[in-house]
């Protein structure tokens, strides 16, 4: 079967005050359809750069990213993105935020409303559909952003440290909720994090990256069943994989 996302020798250089800086060096990765891949690595390892290139917000210096076999050229609604800073439009209500992409697609109001309602309920914000973002907690904002990304029906979700700004408790809750959503509305997910536990708990595979230059270090399979539960999180198998990822991240050469 054709992989959903293909990074093929992707290199990205930046010009920093006359000095060339290699943010990402010949990065290659295949992500299968419906797979949940997490990417961890120290800062400067190019994980966000890789994600932004896949999103089409950044062009690669060399190489290319293919989605369903087609080269990425700019952003598109088949690739939803979730940002660490939520990026909700603060002047729009939760419902209007979720409808934003549907409006651009030109969907009729009734369909828009129905779709938005579905995803707002899915992320548990039913009672806050008409609230402005300023009324929401960080966790609720991110749930709204997830609903907004889902609403345009992307086949790929690109998530850039989405839970990085949340407290530990909320983060665990949102991890469970994200997996729950993902199991019901299966999409291919590429999820960036700097939290090793989070990377292992969510993923089919953990991609470990190294810095200077940003590159692929190691890919670690997570052979744990879904649905992931607290039991799994506290199991020796989880700990073993977690330790492997930890070593790959913190003891790089």
């Amino acid at each position: 079967m054709q992989p959903k996302i293909v990074f093929s020798n992707v290199t990205r250089r930046f010009d920093l005050a006359g000095n060339e800086f290699v943010a990402l060096d010949r990065f290659s990765l295949d992500v299968a359809d419906g797979e949940f891949v997490t990417v961890v690595g120290p800062s400067g390892c190019g994980k966000s750069t890789a994600l932004n290139i896949a999103a089409g917000l950044l062009a690669p210096s060399e190489g290319e990213v293919l989605i369903d076999g087609k080269g990425v050229d700019g952003p598109g609604p088949e690739r939803g993105m979730i940002f660490q800073q939520y990026a909700l439009f603060p002047w729009l209500t939760v419902r209007q935020n979720v409808e934003f992409g549907l409006r651009i697609k030109g969907e009729p109001a009734a369909r828009r409303r129905e779709t938005a309602e579905h995803f707002i309920d899915l992320v548990g914000l039913g009672h806050f559909a008409d609230a402005l973002p300023k009324m929401l907690s960080g966790g609720m904002k991110q749930r709204c952003a997830i609903a907004r990304a889902y609403a345009v029906n992307p086949s790929v979700l690109l998530m850039d440290e989405p839970f990085g700004a949340l407290d530990a408790l909320t983060r665990v809750q949102l991890q469970d909720q994200l997996l729950e959503t993902w199991s019901r509305e299966r999409r291919t997910v590429m999820f960036i994090t700097h939290d090793v536990d989070e990377a292992v708990y969510l993923a089919n595979r953990v991609v470990v990256m190294a810095a200077r230059p940003g590159r692929l270090q190691e890919i670690i399979e997570v052979n744990l069943p879904y649905p992931r539960t607290e039991q799994i999180r506290l199991s020796p198998e989880f700990t073993a994989i977690r330790n492997r990822v930890w070593h790959a991240v913190y003891h790089q050469h």
């Binding site: 993105m81 909700l88 603060p90 697609k105 300023k134």
Partner: protein
């Protein structure tokens, strides 16, 4: 979310008017001020008119319609100049914020003219535009335009990049991003600019009337000065201050309403 602080009163956003204790203190302050003015002027020591004289003059000027005429002609000038200035400033500010080329072309002029007090343009305006309404409106237009244009383009260039990226990944093209992201995100900045614009329009108006006018509040003071008519000067000053304050409050209420979505710290 970054947004310009709007100076006064952002603390109680959402429920203004509820602060009765504050309003009572405001009124008390005014009463004390007037009383002090009365005491100081009662003996004629300071050479200024006491409140009753000013009040009598006020009634007289209202009665013979002169105050209303002056207010109307001043307001007509200020509103004409201000509306023209802001109406032009908003699109120019957007163009400057959105297109780097336009910004580089226009900015030198903007920075240069900002350094010239609008009143310094009056001699030139009178020579080239005559002595009727045009030069006065032009100068007010210039003052409010310069204030509002800078605020607008600051607003456009400080729109959060992440919001623009979020719109792009949701499928928005440049036009949609402009209309649905850049414009609403700039509204708080624009409204601050509009308020500053109104302030400088009002300030410029009175000065322009002092120099060259046959009607208006500034002209009335100029006349009163010739006849040593201090109560009329006082009535004019109080009217100018009150009208300016009222217009500012109206704009502040509009601003509150339109930017209610902002997270205020």
């Amino acid at each position: 979310m970054s947004a310009p602080s709007n100076g006064s009163g952002s603390r109680n956003a959402g429920r203004p008017a509820a602060d009765f204790g504050g309003i009572a203190l405001n009124l008390a302050g005014i009463v004390v001020g007037v009383a002090l003015w009365w005491v100081l002027t009662a003996g004629g020591a300071v050479g200024l008119p006491p409140p009753p004289d000013v009040a009598r003059k006020f009634v007289e000027l209202v009665g013979n319609g002169q105050l209303a005429t002056d207010i109307m002609s001043s307001l007509a000038r200020v509103l004409a100049g201000f509306l023209l200035g802001v109406t032009l400033a908003v699109p120019v500010g957007f163009v400057m914020g959105w297109y780097k080329v336009a910004r580089s072309l226009i900015e030198p002029y903007l920075q240069f003219f900002r350094m010239i007090p609008p009143l310094a343009i009056i001699p030139l305006a009178i020579v080239t535009m005559g002595i009727d309404e045009t030069p006065k409106i032009f100068v007010i237009f210039l003052a409010s335009f310069l204030a509002a244009v800078v605020a607008t383009y600051q607003g456009v260039i400080s729109v959060d990049r992440t919001l623009i990226n979020a719109a792009r990944v949701l499928g928005a093209g440049d036009l949609v991003i402009f209309l649905r992201v850049v414009v609403p995100a700039s509204v708080p900045f624009i409204l601050v600019g509009v308020r500053i614009g109104l302030g400088s329009a009002w300030a410029t108006l009175v000065a322009a009337e002092l120099i060259a006018a046959q009607t208006g509040l500034g002209f009335r003071m100029q006349q009163a000065q010739l006849y040593y008519d201090l109560p009329t000067i006082f009535v004019s000053l109080i009217t100018i201050g009150t009208l300016g304050l009222a217009m500012d409050r109206v704009l502040l209420a509009v601003e509150r309403r339109l930017t209610d979505w902002q997270e205020r710290v």
